[in-house]
Amino acid sequence: MSGAVIWTLVALGLAVLVVRRRSLAVALVTAQALVLVGVALDEAESSGDVIAAGALAVRAIVLAGLFLLLVSRTRAVRPVRARVAPLARAGIAVAFALALTWLVPAIGLVSRDAERGVLALVAFGIATAALRRATLFQIIGIVLVENALALAALQLPGGASVAIELGVALDLMLVALVAVVFYERIFAEFGTADSATLRALRD
């Protein structure tokens, strides 16, 4: 995988953190997953690799469909304002990513660029979940982390186990499905998709 592709994936991840509209964030994270599918197919050496790429594609399309359906069914009167401004979010996330790449030594992927890309995407995913108030962005943060792990699996020297890749895709779809159920009920109960309303449980 070329460095340009890796940094495209990272740029898409950073864009998810910055954009305001939920539908645009869904499009970006789906584009990221589809780039990974393309890379997986390009580097496939066995039928198992093709199956794993297929699972990744199904996961990307199913999640995009679910999320876009959710966006259309939960139109808010006022968009949820993030608690941190876009540039500040980007700054915090980039600082987190740089700290991770500085702290974590070589982890054994085929290139150092790939390792940096994986760590940056994990950082962006966690930052998205932590810094965005709209609940859908918290699910998208999880998907970003999983995309980072898919990139890592593609960049393992001996390739990853197909069974594990299929299982991860299935698990993520299950979790996303449950999250969608919760999202709709939260929207119905609170009249907003703002995670700031979820603060009744404190000690």
């Binding site: 030594p105 966690i126 943060g141 980072a148 792990l149 393992l156 186990s161 979790v175 109960e189």
Partner: protein
């Protein structure tokens, strides 16, 4: 395939099959079918536990399946708590009508999700592979999050959402650790992640340490170790009581077993002392965070949730100390905690019927207004606090002694001090809850009390039996098998 392997597969398959049947069965048969299926599932789980304990010197260790003493014990615990949770669930379902799904599908979805959760839980201790273990642990999140938010109330939705997001992110971090490990194991593929193959990691001890830290930090989010425990008190307090029991008594120690197996497998690469120190740090942090909450007046289920944080810390310390004494203490602690904690959560159903404010406020004087309920709650709290003759008293003594034996006098002393402080907090709660001043309450019959009384009788027998076993366990073949692990 040996008889143990066949039995293990049946133990996993039967509740999964029951979950499917519950989805398809006519509505009128759902509760009966759920009750009926719970007995053979639990019986098979107990049979597997007995076989695993009897053959402690000859564990089954494969790439996909392992059956050893630690896993066998957990299967027994999950079987027991699952059985009791299914049997007391009708009282919970009868007491309320709200849920995430429509009223017609309420019982069906509840029992199907409960059985699915039970099946996945039973599979986790038996899985022979870190990658597959991760998949199963992540799958428990999907099944159990639905159950946490099952009532559909605002607070339950908040708890379920936090649980889903925080544990999924945590498990993402754990998966990164697994990927890093996979990169450095010569075998590659799924076989490379089997418990035995993990010790062949050749990517360098520094990278192995990073992978271990990522793995444990991620699993900690699911186990509820401090400082990544935020979802735990919310989910435990807002889930239906039978589900809270499964979460606390079965899910947390089951995921902890994966952390234990990982520590054991990676110790030759990372260093025994380093891997144990990480567990000791998580254990002490969890105890230190939990104890101040045990001193506060909290709603019943929230108090039990912070007690779970305390006990998961104690178990982490026992594994971290790693001596024969400490691990004997861990085995007893896991089983006794499960019995006492499950009883406490089951008591919440009649408690909420008797005192509706108990969901959001601390309650006092339950023993004065409803003796049987006060006895159940009192036995649960007394056992959890470590009041002799509770088996948790013996197990905590064993773990602290194991800490001194392992050459960690400061950690063992800090553990003893924090446990003493925790005991005082829970003892105060015990007195207030059972014998404190009580406001006027309705004294009529309350939902679910008969079932909880029956569970209390069984729990007392089990707890006393465990105390006797705790005295005999150190130095036994079982304790030696726990130290050997899967090596």
């Amino acid at each position: 395939m040996t008889s143990r392997e066949l039995l293990a597969l049946t133990v996993i398959a039967l509740p999964a099959l029951a979950a499917v049947l519950l989805l398809l069965a006519p509505t009128g048969l759902v509760t009966g079918l759920a009750r009926f299926a719970s007995v053979p599932v639990a019986a098979l789980a107990f049979a597997l536990t007995l076989l695993a304990l009897r053959a402690s010197g000859k564990p089954v260790i494969g790439d996909w399946l392992v059956i050893d003493v630690a896993g066998g014990l957990l299967v027994g615990v999950i079987g027991l708590v699952g059985l009791a949770s299914v049997l007391v669930s009708p009282a919970y379902l009868d007491a309320g009508r709200d849920s995430l799904v429509s009223p017609e599908r309420r019982q069906r979805m509840y029992f199907a999700a409960l059985y699915l959760f039970w099946a996945i839980l039973l599979a986790v201790p038996l899985v022979g592979n870190l990658g597959a273990a991760w998949l199963l642990v992540e799958a428990t999140t999907a099944a159990s999050a639905l159950l946490v938010g099952f009532s559909g109330h605002a607070r339950a939705l908040e708890a379920g959402w936090k649980y889903l997001v925080l544990t999924s992110l945590g498990l993402g971090v754990a998966l990164l650790g697994i990927v890093v490990l996979a990169a450095g194991i010569p075998t590659g593929g799924l076989d490379g992640l089997s418990w035995r193959a993990l010790s062949t990691y050749s990517g360098g001890s520094e990278t192995a340490l990073i992978a271990y830290l990522l793995l444990l930090a991620g699993l900690a989010a699911k186990i509820g170790w401090a400082p990544v425990h935020n979802w735990l008190p919310d989910a435990h307090s807002e889930a239906p009581p039978p589900v809270s029991a499964l979460l606390s008594a079965a899910l947390l120690p089951t995921v902890l077993l994966i952390a234990w197996r990982s520590q054991h497998a990676l110790a030759p690469v990372v260093g025994e002392n380093t891997t144990q120190t990480v567990l000791i740090a998580f254990g002490l942090a969890s105890l230190a965070v939990a104890v101040p909450f045990l001193w506060r007046s909290l709603p019943w289920k929230r108090l039990l949730a912070y007690s779970s944080l305390e006990h998961m810390g104690v178990i982490a310390l026992g594994i971290g100390f790693g001596t024969s004494l400490a691990l004997a203490g861990v085995a007893i602690h896991i089983v006794a905690h499960a019995v006492a904690k499950a009883l406490g959560f089951y008591a919440a159903t009649p408690l909420l019927s008797h005192e509706p404010r108990a969901g959001e406020h601390a309650v006092t004087g339950i023993g004065r207004t409803k003796h049987a309920l006060g006895v159940s709650m009192g036995i649960s709290l007394a056992a959890l606090s470590g009041l002799p003759p509770s088996p948790l008293f013996v197990s905590e003594v064993l773990i602290v002694a194991g800490g001194f034996q392992a050459g960690h006098p400061w950690a063992a002393s800090a553990t003893a001090l924090l446990l003493a402080l925790g005991f005082l907090g829970l003892a105060h709660a015990l007195i207030e809850t059972t014998a404190g001043d009580s406001p006027p309450r309705e004294r009529g019959p309350i939902a679910g009390l008969r079932g909880v009384t029956a569970v209390t009788c069984v729990s007392v027998v089990l707890l006393l039996g465990l105390t006797a076993a705790a005295v005999a366990l150190p130095g036994s073949d079982l304790a030696a098998a726990l130290v050997r692990g899967l090596s």
